[in-house]
């Protein structure tokens, strides 16, 4: 690596305030997987999996999507 550091260091120290209304979205994948009424049943089945199993595995996608969306929406945009 010849050049010192390709990423220019952020100018001010404390620009990245992490307050954003989008952060509230994070509560969805915290609350939804903890409601047994949603997943504690057998039907409908998917590939032979009772709902209990496939739905809870599907919550992983819910979690990933939410954190990704929040990360993208709250990322520092340029120098403002």
């Amino acid at each position: 690596m010849a050049a010192p550091d390709p990423e220019a260091p952020p100018t001010a120290s404390a620009r990245a305030k992490d307050k954003s209304p989008w952060n509230w979205l994070l509560f969805i994948p915290i609350v939804v997987p903890l409601v047994p009424a949603f997943f504690n049943g057998d039907s409908p089945r998917l590939f032979g999996f009772p709902r209990f199993y496939w739905l809870q595995l599907a919550y992983i996608i819910l979690g990933v999507t939410t954190t990704t969306v929040v990360y993208q929406l709250t990322k520092r945009r340029g120098d403002r």
Binding site: E7, P9, P10, R15, F27, D42, Y53, G63, T67, Y71
Partner: protein, 549 residues
């Protein structure tokens, strides 16, 4: 007999030797100019990017014991064992913001452990000591349990002996090698080995979830076999679905475990070793890939039922060791060379977390006991040296736990560990957001939470055991007219918070000194490149750009 498992043993040994070699070479990977610093030995230079962090934290949180014990739980109790899935889903959104803030404040102030943070935030060496000891006590049995993971594999390969020494010799050798390369390479060793470990595990599990259902007649048949087993069993709590009485336990256990996970010092070690806030946030989206893996691994428990696997006998007469079902399932269903690969995945899977945990425990001792109470003006090199030696001591202790005590003791301790580490939540996790609590209140809350948690665990009995028979506390013992159970840790931490708040109000009314907050507001947002973020570019020697998760 071990002779029947020769192919497996050879492949297991070869892969084990391969990663041991990597462990020693790791000292030169992204090597710093000067290794004699805790930021280097204990945090790998604080410079890990997205991929390394993903493998490191993933390899650290999802341990060999998890991979063996979760399917064992599903095999034994059914749906209840699946709590590991919601647990590892809610964790990431839960800590998404908290960890980024902790990273910032830790890098500005050079914190290595959660207790370092608490000491500075609440200006209280006593509270920091309490946090450090809680961390060490909670981590020790966790390390010992990694040995249980290796042992289940050795048992399945028939590598057992009559005398205590013969039975444990392979484990002692394995841990001696682990101790040697951790001593030399520090956090770089598990970081490098994690690549091999996780790749092996992903391969094994992907093969298992496609190949085994095909051999066992499809998922429908697998769930039907499990259903039939639980219908026939007399135990009230088991089944393919939850019943009315264990739903509360399921939810509180998942949430409580999630709250506890990042309070364990070893999970924070991986987080603090990352390069910047973005690495952490991106990893919160990428780490759930391991949760999917864990969910599929959990279902191996049902496959074992469908394949009619009978667990090997346990340590004491008349008991069975459910932890052997996954190794036995592999042995029964896979060709022996692939079983060897699968066993190596579990065995190596134990080494990564064991190394990180011993480093984390050693860092706690060095920073919050040695430097605080024994040698205040220790140099960076002395700190690194003490940590290296402590990591050896910790591992010897873990091996001694397994060799001289009933493994059940370590399992009990780990159960307790989850409850006690949760008692650091108000100081560490809430402390990141607020300094409202008084340091005296936090200590009082910790005492209350610990006391209540221990009492509740002691009260829990089962048909085979009088005390410490799990973490599901029957609410009728509190005088409620119900069969419902609840996770002990959750109740204990709520009482902890309540007491902390009340005592805070009292101490504030009595104008007891609160100390000075060593951190400033904008410390919590600082990121890579900030001139005051330590250690800056001191270690840029091997910091080549790399792909990100």
């Amino acid at each position: 007999m071990w002779r029947d498992h020769l192919t497996e043993i050879i492949i297991f040994t070869l892969l084990f030797l391969l990663v041991s070699g990597m462990g020693f070479v790791a000292a030169r990977w992204r090597a710093p100019k000067d290794m004699a610093h805790l930021d280097e030995w204990g945090l790998g230079g604080r410079n890990f990017g997205g991929w390394i962090t993903w493998f490191l934290v993933g390899g650290d949180l999802y341990t060999a014991y998890t991979f063996v014990a979760v399917p064992a739980l599903v095999f034994g109790a059914g749906a209840m064992g699946f709590f590991a899935v919601p647990y590892t889903i809610v964790i990431y959104p839960l800590v998404f913001l908290v960890l980024a803030r902790l990273w910032s404040v830790s890098h500005r102030h050079g914190f290595v452990t959660p207790a370092d943070f608490v000491r500075s935030r609440f200006d209280s060496p006593v509270l920091a000591l309490v946090i450090a000891i809680t961390g060490i006590v909670a981590t020790m049995p966790y390390i010992a349990l990694q040995l249980v993971g290796i042992e289940s594999v050795l048992k399945a390969m028939g590598v057992t002996g009559e005398s205590t020494l013969a039975r444990h010799l392979p484990i002692i050798v394995a841990f001696a090698i682990l101790a040697a390369y951790t001593y030399q390479s520090g956090l770089r060793a598990p970081a490098l080995i994690a690549f091999v470990k996780d790749s092996l595990i992903y391969i094994v599990i992907l093969v298992a979830i496609f190949y085994l259902p095909y051999k066992l007649g499809g998922w429908g048949d697998i769930f039907a076999a499990a259903d039939a087993k639980f219908d026939a069993s007399p135990a009230p709590g088991d089944g393919v679905l939850l019943n009315a009485n264990n739903q509360l336990q399921y939810v509180t256990l998942a949430l409580g475990s999630a709250l506890a996970l990042f309070l364990y010092p070893h999970s924070l070690t991986g987080v603090l070793a990352s390069r910047n806030r973005d690495v952490i946030k991106r990893n919160m989206s990428a780490l759930p890939a391991y949760s999917l893996l864990l969910g599929l691994i959990a279902l191996l428990g049902y496959m074992a039922i469908a394949a009619d696997v009978k667990p090997l006998p346990g340590a004491s007469e008349g008991t069975v060791d459910n932890n052997t079902i996954v190794p036995l399932l592999f042995d029964q269903q896979f060709p022996s060379w692939f079983t060897g690969v699968a066993y190596a995945a579990i065995g190596i899977g134990a080494l990564v977390p064991a190394a990180i945990m011993s480093i984390a425990a050693a860092n706690l001792f060095t920073r919050n006991i040695y430097k605080e109470y024994l040698r205040r003006n220790a140099t960076a090199a002395q700190e690194a040296n003490v940590s290296k030696i402590t990591s050896l001591v910790v591992k010897v202790g873990a091996v001694a736990c397994i060799v001289f005590l009933d493994p059940q003791f370590s399992i009990d301790l780990q159960l307790i560990g989850g409850v006690i580490i949760l008692q650091t939540l108000p100081a560490v996790a809430l402390g990141i957001y607020t300094r409202w609590f008084h340091r005296g209140g936090l200590v009082a809350g910790w005492v209350a939470g610990m006391g209540l948690g221990m009492w509740m665990l002691y009260q829990i009995s089962s048909p085979t055991r009088k005390h410490f028979a799990g973490s599901a506390f029957p609410l009728e013992k509190f005088g409620f007219d119900t069969q419902k159970t609840i996770y002990v840790g959750m109740v204990a931490v709520l009482v902890n918070l309540l007491v902390a708040a009340l005592v805070t109000l009292v101490l504030r009314a009595a104008r007891v000194a609160e100390g000075v907050d060593g951190t400033a507001r904008d410390d919590y947002f600082a990121d890579e490149g900030d001139p005051r973020v330590t250690p800056g570019t001191r270690t840029d020697a091997g910091a080549a750009p790399e792909p990100v998760a």
